[in-house]
Amino acid sequence: MMFNNPMIWNALKTALLETLYMVGVSTFFAVLFGLPLGILLTITSPGHIKPNKLINTVLGAVVNLGRSIPFIILMVAIINFTRWLVGTSIGTTAAIVPLSISATPFFARVTEQSLREVDKGVIEAAEAMGATTLQIIFKVLLPEALSSLVLGVTITAVNLIGYSAMAGAIGGGGLGDLAIRYGYQRFRPDIMIITVIVLVILVQGVQTVGSFIANRLDHK
């Protein structure tokens, strides 16, 4: 009965676009803030190009703190901040705030992990050639880790698809919202199922594209 009901298709389309919007924008912010954090975490670690125990410890602690707060609690805890920042605490735009905040420390760690994989010898060769710290970051670390960073962005986006569904469940819009409203509250298991299928396809799609790009960038 759902297949000939245009209203449901429209709802599904809107929900998908909302999810893409939430995930897209919060992935963008996670990378925007997480990447520099990850770079700092890496280069200030012992034995790296700018070892600094204080910065490294403080940043590490902040990142760990961010990662240890469950998303659902974070979302509620920062409601006032969200309202102050975007003018509302419900809807997709509001959901982007906690999504970005929770994904940022995650992506920082992902970045750190990728950058640490860059061969020490290559970094040292650059140092021996008289490269500055910034040159090492932008001409060695990031390009050498690019493929792995793309995979990191992919994982972050996939995680955010899951979290966005959670955000949706408490009034954030998107596919999660649709599933709860129709599937659970209005006893429409068919809609629940189709929503899940769309989510699965979305995740597969993001992962496939991410892996493909990462592969193309990998010259190891």
Partner: protein, 342 residues
């Protein structure tokens, strides 16, 4: 003023602090001249890498001074140090190329660091790739190259800024013997044609023998022997140097031969070692002509360092004038040892 030193270590000590302190270098005094190929040989852990890394301050000495081209490297600001590092090229055992860059881009890397404009970079890279014989691989990625080709890229990269010094940390240790030879040839050519001072560290004596002018033997963080390669190789004064020597000069009778010698009875067995101008052959000819003896060459080994020939022969002498023959050989400057027990 004549030739002056290019690199000088003055009383350099380096200690790695940690749970158990390692004294990697102890009071090193060493001078490397402009335009020479200088070898540093030692066993694993002897301090070779530490020594060479003190030249461009990848490691900072705890004591003493390192002078490069008259400049005390430790007195430089960070900025000045970076500038000076640009004039010192370095190649590595594991090549350390950027895997995300093509061959040409790798060679262009130090030029980018120095802010050389693109058009000049392209020309320079083309020349360098031609120098190392890799013009056809410009667009390949390092992962598509053989070890020898990778090291050629490393060499091209290390020369991009017209460096005066090339430091080689076990640059051929990951390569097969044939490829090693071709890389050594390339280093020799660069040294000859561009006048670049080459510092080579290795644990392989044949590398030293092949291309170095002078050599230092390092053991437990100390330089235990240093001098012209011929001198150190042929008249080693330390046990370590002798051990290295054995790897290139077979002055000992191999066991299979020794077993055969034991079976051959009668006559007298002599081990004759010769060094320098005259090779063994004509002298032995003279022995046979001038004395009433029969000479049997049972084993021989001849090699060359630069233009000095050296080697060892095991001879069996029979006949009445053995004693005179022996005296004659010694007179000719050969070292003669009677071996009754091989």
């Amino acid at each position: 003023m004549g030739v002056i030193f290019l690199i000088r270590f003055e009383n350099v000590t380096k200690i790695y602090k940690g749970e158990n302190e390692v004294v990697a270098l102890k009071n090193i005094d060493l001078t490397i001249n402009d335009g020479e190929i200088f070898g540093i040989i030692g066993l694993s852990g002897a301090g070779k890498s530490t020594l060479v890394r003190c030249i461009n301050l990848l490691e900072t000495p705890d004591e003493g001074r390192v002078l490069v081209d008259g400049v005390d490297m430790m007195n430089l600001t960070r900025r000045e140090l970076r500038q000076h590092r640009k004039s010192i090229g370095m190649i590595f055992q594991h090549f350390n190329l950027l895997s995300s860059r093509t061959v040409a881009e790798n060679v262009a890397f130090p030029l980018e660091l120095s802010g050389v404009p693109k058009r000049q970079r392209i020309k320079k890279v083309r020349d360098l790739l031609e120098l190392v014989g890799l013009s056809d691989k410009a667009r390949a990625y390092p992962s598509q190259l053989s070890g020898g080709q990778k090291q050629r890229v490393g060499i091209a990269r290390a020369l991009a800024n017209d460096q005066k010094i090339l430091l080689c940390d076990e640059a051929t240790s990951a390569l097969d013997p044939q490829t090693t030879m071709s890389i050594l040839e390339l280093l020799k050519k660069i040294n000859r044609e561009r006048g670049i001072t080459v510092v080579i560290i290795t644990h392989e004596m044949h590398v030293i023998k092949e291309i170095c002018d002078r050599v230092a033997v390092i053991e437990d963080g100390r330089i235990i022997e240093t001098g012209i390669v011929e001198d150190v190789l042929l008249n080693p004064t330390t046990e370590t140097a002798r051990t290295f020597l054995k790897t290139v000069i077979k002055s000992e009778v191999p066991p299979e031969v020794a077993a055969r010698l034991k079976e051959s009875n009668g006559g007298e067995l002599l081990q004759v070692t010769f060094l320098g101008g005259s090779t063994g052959e004509p002298i032995i000819n003279e022995v046979v002509k001038n004395f009433d003896v029969v000479v049997n060459i049972l084993y021989g080994n001849i090699d060359q360092i630069h233009d000095i020939t050296f080697g060892m022969l095991v001879l069996k002498l029979t006949g009445p004038q053995r004693k005179q023959a022996k005296a004659f050989l010694e007179e000719k400057g050969l070292k003669v040892k009677v071996i009754d027990d091989v």
